[in-house]
């Protein structure tokens, strides 16, 4: 369980996180949403101590993590897999080498590495790409590699920072599907940071909306979407998310639509009507 109490984080004088209180239970998928620059990534990075903070505490599985140092800190991080928005793959290495990176850091034998990587590559669905370089993969495949690397040390937690934001809607769905499977099948607790509402809506159990550095709202995802509070509407741009909607269709605001149609007409481009 992750327990955050009274967390305050400042960069110099600027308060980025202000009194965050949050509990994330084992086995759940928890979503953290908020507008850009509100401190979502900062909060997530506090969880594996990539960032330090000034006040408050974070306990993970009953351990205060703030003062973990050197070897203890590195051991602790093994239990917190992290997935990145831009995949963070080593471009000069193959998929196999990328996935095995954490194992190589922890001194696993060649045989163990081969066995674990091959197994996990099957789970995430990139077993046929192991000898490719990242540049030859699609975005979705790259993120599968990123997820496999984050899972290779068998972490209990998976921290995802905008892990689908660089992907198209269809690929996003397939990655979300994968995260859901990992959660259900392997009981991995997942924290998802995102500004995409459809991400939380489709996989998260509970969520928190961050505004102005603190938690504006927290609860079950369906409750929050049903209630459709001002905070949620701020994030979604007044759309009514309580009703069933097809999020795979990207909405273009009316004026923007008119302009585009205008340009198409002007240039005598047949736009299919």
């Amino acid at each position: 369980m992750i327990e955050i109490e009274g967390l305050v984080k400042r960069y110099r004088e600027v308060k980025v996180l202000d009194n965050i209180n949050l509990k994330i239970n084992d086995g759940e998928i928890f979503g953290v949403v908020g507008v850009s620059g509100v401190g979502k990534s900062t909060l997530l990075r506090c969880l594996n101590l990539l960032e330090q903070w000034q006040e408050g505490s974070i306990k993970i599985d009953e351990i205060h993590i703030k003062n973990l140092k050197s070897k203890k800190l590195r051991e602790f991080r093994k239990n917190m897999g992290m997935v990145f928005q831009n995949f963070s793959l080593i471009e000069r290495e193959t998929v196999f080498q990328n996935i095995s990176f954490p194992l190589r850091c922890w001194g696993y034998s060649k045989e163990e590495i081969k066995k674990k990587v091959t197994e996990l590559a099957k789970v995430v669905g990139i077993e046929d790409k192991l000898q490719e370089r990242p540049k030859n993969l699609s975005g979705g495949q790259k993120q599968r590699v990123g997820i496999a690397r984050a899972l290779i040390l068998n972490p209990k937690y998976l921290l995802c920072d905008e892990c689908t934001s660089a992907l198209d809607p269809k690929t996003t769905n397939s990655i979300l599907e994968l995260l859901k499977t990992l959660n259900e099948k392997y009981n991995i607790t997942i924290v998802v940071v995102t500004h995409e509402m459809r991400v939380v809506k489709s996989i998260c159990h509970r969520m928190a909306i961050i505004e102005g550095g603190s938690i504006a709202e927290m609860g079950k995802v369906e409750d929050i979407f049903n209630e459709n509070s001002i905070y949620l509407r701020n994030l979604t741009g007044e759309e009514n998310l309580g009703e069933k909607e097809d999020y795979s269709i990207i909405k273009i605001p009316q004026e923007e639509y008119e302009t585009v149609v205008g340009i198409l007409k002007e240039n005598k481009i047949n736009y299919g009507k």
């Binding site: 590195r74 093994k78 897999g81 963070s88 000069r92 990176f101 954490p102 850091c105 921290l159």
Partner: protein, 221 residues
């Protein structure tokens, strides 16, 4: 060949040995400069404000020493180093003395080249490595140097060509090698054929270095 040129006569006795001396000087001082440059460049990256082990004092001092040595014009540096060269090597003439001077002259360059190459690595990769519990040494060896290797190679190629330049200048103050041959026979004895022949050899060496570096770079990329 111009009349009175002794190029053919000197080819086996003077020029060929000079080629070997020059190659030896470049080779040994390149290896030394690259080793020291990679160490100091890594220290600069590590001790940077945003580095893995921020340390203002070390970063500042190392950075300043690097810049000061780089500010010296090559020829003046070689001459200014003569007393130190005498103490360390025992003499200020010959290939070993030149290797000492060139290494000191090129290490700051190699340091900045290393720093520059490592800076090209995406900082998210460092976060990634930290997040899986990699140690600082592992981040440097398994991420930074792996990802920066092609840039490192192309940066060091520039340095190598600079070194050829330096070794030729060192020839003027008793280092031997092609630079000394060009100066003694070309400049002092007005044997233009020998001078231009030496220049041609230097051009060939530059082209060889660049060609080889290109092949290595393409392989690594």
């Amino acid at each position: 060949m111009g009349q009175g040129s002794r190029l053919i006569e000197y080819l086996p006795t003077v020029i060929v040995p000079a080629i070997w001396t020059t190659l030896e000087m470049i080779f040994v001082s390149a290896i030394l400069s690259i080793i020291f440059g990679m160490i100091f460049g890594t220290v600069l990256i590590l001790t940077d404000e945003k580095g893995l082990l921020p340390n203002k004092v070390i970063h500042f001092i190392l950075g300043k020493i690097t810049d000061v040595i780089r500010a010296f014009p090559t020829m003046i540096l070689i001459v200014a180093l003569i007393p130190l060269t005498r103490i360390v090597i025992g003499t200020s003439i010959g290939a070993n003395a030149a290797i000492f001077a060139i290494t000191i002259g090129c290490t700051p360059f190699a340091t900045r080249m290393t720093e520059n190459a490592l800076q090209t690595v995406d900082s998210d990769l460092v976060l990634m490595a930290k997040s899986v519990g990699a140690s600082n040494l592992q981040i440097v060896s398994k991420v930074l140097f792996v990802e920066a290797l092609p840039v490192l190679v192309s940066n060091f190629t520039i340095m190598l060509i600079n070194m050829l330049n330096m070794s030729a200048m060192a020839g003027a103050v008793g280092a031997g090698g092609l630079g000394a041959v060009a100066l003694t026979y070309g400049y002092q004895r007005f044997d233009n054929a020998i001078m231009y022949f030496v220049v041609a050899i230097l051009i060939v060496i530059v082209l060889l270095i660049q060609g080889l570096a290109k092949i290595i770079y393409d392989k690594l990329k």
